[in-house]
């Protein structure tokens, strides 16, 4: 982080704190908008002008829609947004097909997509769709511009919806300790996921042993195990990177009392592809569900059409990431997975298979996890031929005797994956024990002896009590622990004359 970036962040925070102390809603919103624009302008004044132009355009079309609900106005808004996004996002890769030296290629190099454009364009579109669907939204120009440019989310989402944000922009600001605590915790969690876990997975235990090298530096071909672990590893890398980012954004907004939509909800515990898409990049997948899939599926009543609509929606989801063959195939792949899942459900209803419940859940989870992980190969591969080559290794038995990656890579991915599930499961179990302890305490009518007679063991009671004790006094131990960690890390960096390397968030590329 440069001094300049730090200065900008400080200034934005300062403006936000000042805004939170202002009583006038309009002045506060204006100052928040100014802070957001100031933040966004650090990527370039030109980008800011585009954001402002897009906001004005959507607001103007929205005004037309508010006056008269006409499909032609909606289409006008959709076409204008898609044209703007298409020009910056999809035209350059098409022009680059001309090859180096051609005028198209040179032209493409001059077209630079503003950061976060895919996110705020979709926010603008959702406003128009909501108006058309007769949602009660009546933002002022400043409120709408603030919604489009809201600085925590403007770079990479989550994709917000105006009906959710507008009341929060208007409410009396409250700096509560609950919000600050919850927000700070999310912020720390995000920092840890991005700066440590994602870095570790990306670069490996030593440079060249991570997931990035696995995709970019292997020249002798991948073995079957390599591809599976690269898929799993990249899934976790993307999760730590993007969910880490989302935690930071949600946490920052939460500190100031604003609740931004969630983006992830333990996606790797999903037991079906459908469930996975309600837990992974939720703000976008719900956007696609609400504004693409449902209207599309509603146009015909045939069952086969709903499957087609699924594939089209997921293809659009893939295409949203960029005009690259791998993203499109990624979308089609997930569309087909969803279709197969639905067909599987129908088949199961007709030919029920009786399995013990835990085994059935485990098999469903395992299949979903592996199929989703395989999909990440399509997402991350540098091009389609690389993806094809990797898929070939997966389906070729002889490839399972070949290992292209260093041993540390296999160890890292396996330990990480197992560790993730242990931590996630352990967390849930501990929380449930703590909840049971609290319930027992609240229902207690007799002296403590009565507690032991209740329906759980002494050990879980003690652990639950401990978890509850530390959860209630979270900052009393977390703040000192983080301070100690920060001091040690700072000293180590100083002693080694090193710098923290943070790769850009993956989703800022989209």
């Amino acid at each position: 982080m440069t001094n300049y970036t730090m200065a900008v962040l400080f200034a934005v925070l300062l403006m936000w704190i000042v805004a939170w102390n202002l009583r006038s809603v309009k002045v506060r919103q204006t100052l928040l908008l100014f802070a957001s624009y100031f933040f966004y302008s650090t990527w370039g004044i030109g980008f800011l002008l585009l954001l402002v132009a897009s906001s004005l355009l959507n607001f103007a079309v929205g005004s037309l829609l508010r006056r008269r609900l006409s499909i032609s106005y909606l289409w006008l808004g959709v076409v204008l947004n898609v044209l703007l996004l298409g020009f910056f996002k999809y035209l350059p890769p098409i022009l680059e097909v001309g090859g180096t030296g051609s005028w198209q290629y040179d032209l493409a190099r001059y077209i630079i997509m503003p950061v976060g454009m895919s996110f705020w364009t979709f926010q603008g579109l959702s406003y128009l769709f909501d108006l058309y669907l007769e949602e009660e939204v009546d933002p002022s120009l400043v409120e709408f511009c603030l919604y489009m440019a809201f600085w925590p989310t403007v770079v990479s989402g989550p994709v917000c919806r105006l009906p959710n944000m507008l009341p929060q922009f208007r409410q009396e600001p409250v700096l509560s300790s609950t919000n600050i605590s919850a927000g700070a915790l999310r912020l720390i969690q995000g920092l840890f996921m991005k700066m440590y876990l994602a870095s570790l997975l990306g670069s490996g235990l030593t440079p060249g042993e991570g997931v990035v090298a696995g995709f970019d530096q292997v020249k002798s071909g991948w073995g079957g195990i390599d591809v599976w672990l690269l898929g799993i590893g990249f899934g976790f890398l993307l999760f730590c990177d993007f969910a880490g980012y989302s935690h930071m954004v949600i946490g920052t907004a939460r500190i100031f009392g604003i609740r931004v939509p969630e983006n992830f909800d333990r996606p790797f515990l999903s037991t079906t592809p459908s469930v996975f898409w309600t837990r992974w990049h939720m703000s976008l997948s719900f956007w696609i569900r609400d504004y693409v899939f449902r209207p599309l599926a509603a146009t015909r009543r045939d069952r086969w059409w709903s499957y087609v609509a699924l594939v089209i929606s997921m293809t659009l989801f893939g295409l949203w990431h960029g005009a690259k063959g791998t993203f499109i195939v990624f979308g089609v792949y997930h569309g087909l997975l969803l279709v197969m899942h639905r067909l599987g459900q129908r088949t199961k209803q007709r030919f029920p298979v009786r399995l013990p419940r835990y085994l059935a859940v485990f098999l469903a989870w395992g299949a979903t996890f592996l199929l989703v992980s395989l999909g990440y190969i399509l997402f991350r591969a540098n091009d389609l031929s690389e993806a094809l080559s990797m898929f070939r290794s997966v389906f070729s038995p002889s490839a399972y005797q070949h290992f292209a990656m260093p041993r540390n890579f296999y160890m890292l991915i396996l330990v990480f994956a197992i560790g993730y599930f242990i931590v996630t499961a352990g967390h849930s179990v501990l929380l449930s024990w703590a909840a049971r302890y609290r319930k027992a305490m609240s229902e207690r009518t007799e002296p403590a002896e009565g507690l032991w007679a209740m329906n759980f063991t002494r050990l879980t009671l003690i652990i639950g009590a401990l978890v509850d004790f530390f959860a209630v006094r979270l900052w009393w131990w977390l703040a000192p622990a983080l301070s100690i960690l920060a001091v040690f890390v700072g000293v180590a960096i100083y002693a080694q004359k090193g710098v923290i390397t943070v790769t850009p968030f993956i989703y800022t590329l989209f």
Binding site: L14, P480, I484, A492, T501
Partner: protein, 506 residues
Amino acid sequence: MGRAVSLGGNFVIRGGRIRLLLALIGISLGLWIVFAKLVVPAVITSAYRGESWSFLNRLITGQATVPLSDYLQDWNRVTIAGLLSGLGFWIVVLVISSPAVIQRVPAVYKGVALLTLNALILLLCFEVASLGAVKIWSVVPKAQQLVGEGSPRETVSYYAGQDWAAQFWHEFRLTRKQRYYPYVGWRRAPFNGTTINIDQRGIRLTPGADCRPNSYKVFAFGGSTMWGTGSPNWGTIAAYLQAGLEKLRHGPVCVVNFGETAYVSTQGVILLLMQLQSGNVPNLVLFFDGASDIYAAYQSGRAGTPQNLAQLAARFETSSSPTFLERLRSSYSYSLIENLVVKPIIAKPRQQNEPPAPELGAYEITHTIDVPTLSDSIVQDYFGNYKIVTALAQRYGFNYFFFLQPIVSLGGKSLTSEEEEMRQRLEMGHAINKLLTSVYQRAELESSKHYRNFYSMTHVFDGYNPLVWIDEFHVTPVGNQLLAQKMLEVVVVDGYDGREVIRRNQ
């Protein structure tokens, strides 16, 4: 107008407080910017010229070596740091000036005390846990694993077919440990491996070197290419020279590889002086330099310096670490956090003595390089060394040659796709590439006039099509063999009477 808010009997004007603070923020930051941008630069300029008050003039003493722009640049950093501190200060003031916070001062004090106590308890617990982890880790048997530095050159296709490559890069990483060496700064620590051997003097083994008193002694000086980055002991230039000379001469031959990573030609000359001083007079001296001299100048913005000058200077100029930091660093907690947390997330700047890398630590990042002037200075310094060695050669009776090392972006070799990538990578660093080209052109032009024993190796790989380069400056053992062959062609040794006949290769 401010709104009156009742707080425990006190009336605080909420809006008034904000307005007052905003005014103070605006005024203080404005004053700081005016002071920092208009007043101080003028004072620095006049003090640099010695035209200010005497106490200010005394603050600036480095006019001979440090340009004015450096001082102004430093002040710019202070300006930004001041601005950041000011903003941070006002954020804190805004928060703590809230009446609610003021009322809670006693509670805050208790909280801070409790947090401090908890921190100490946690630190103790963590230290005990770390001690346990370190002890357990130390008794766990570890599989021997060959790990290199992870640099792209380790994966160059040439190494895919070499069974020694993994072992070599593993040992190469281990030989990064340096020791202080008088007058020249550093040399590698002694090392005994299967592909790399370094003796107690920090000199890399030349296989077959027979250094008995009456042997024919050749001193080879240079940077990492002469040392043999990318090659096992048998594949260094010195090793091929040894083999070639053994064929050409009767009697024992002793080629000593004085090459060391990041050495500039002046360090080679100093090493030569030290050998002569101790009575170790060679028969033939070979200097193989170029890239290091240029890169050192590129880093520091001036010629005649070793590489990583700023880091070397810092070791002298900064005071020793505070005891508190040393204690922290000696704790088990530090050791654990360093290995588990810090190593994966930090990138160390290229360490002293590592080979040149145009993308790091360059002077051009903060300054504009005057390529013609700087390249003139580099060439003058280089030939200054040449003249010193000429004088020493006459006095001590040895022969000598200066070879200008090849680099991937120059010469007429037909590059493989991997080499083409290396060339492009080098050319992406525009300033270093311009400087390299300019120095090489000037050196070749200059040498044709006055310097008989200078030979440019720029075209040594012309006509050889397979891959030779492993990065922008280093080559495979095959490349070293070609370099040694060319050197031997330039220096032809008459093995019958022990007298060297030197033929200028045209």
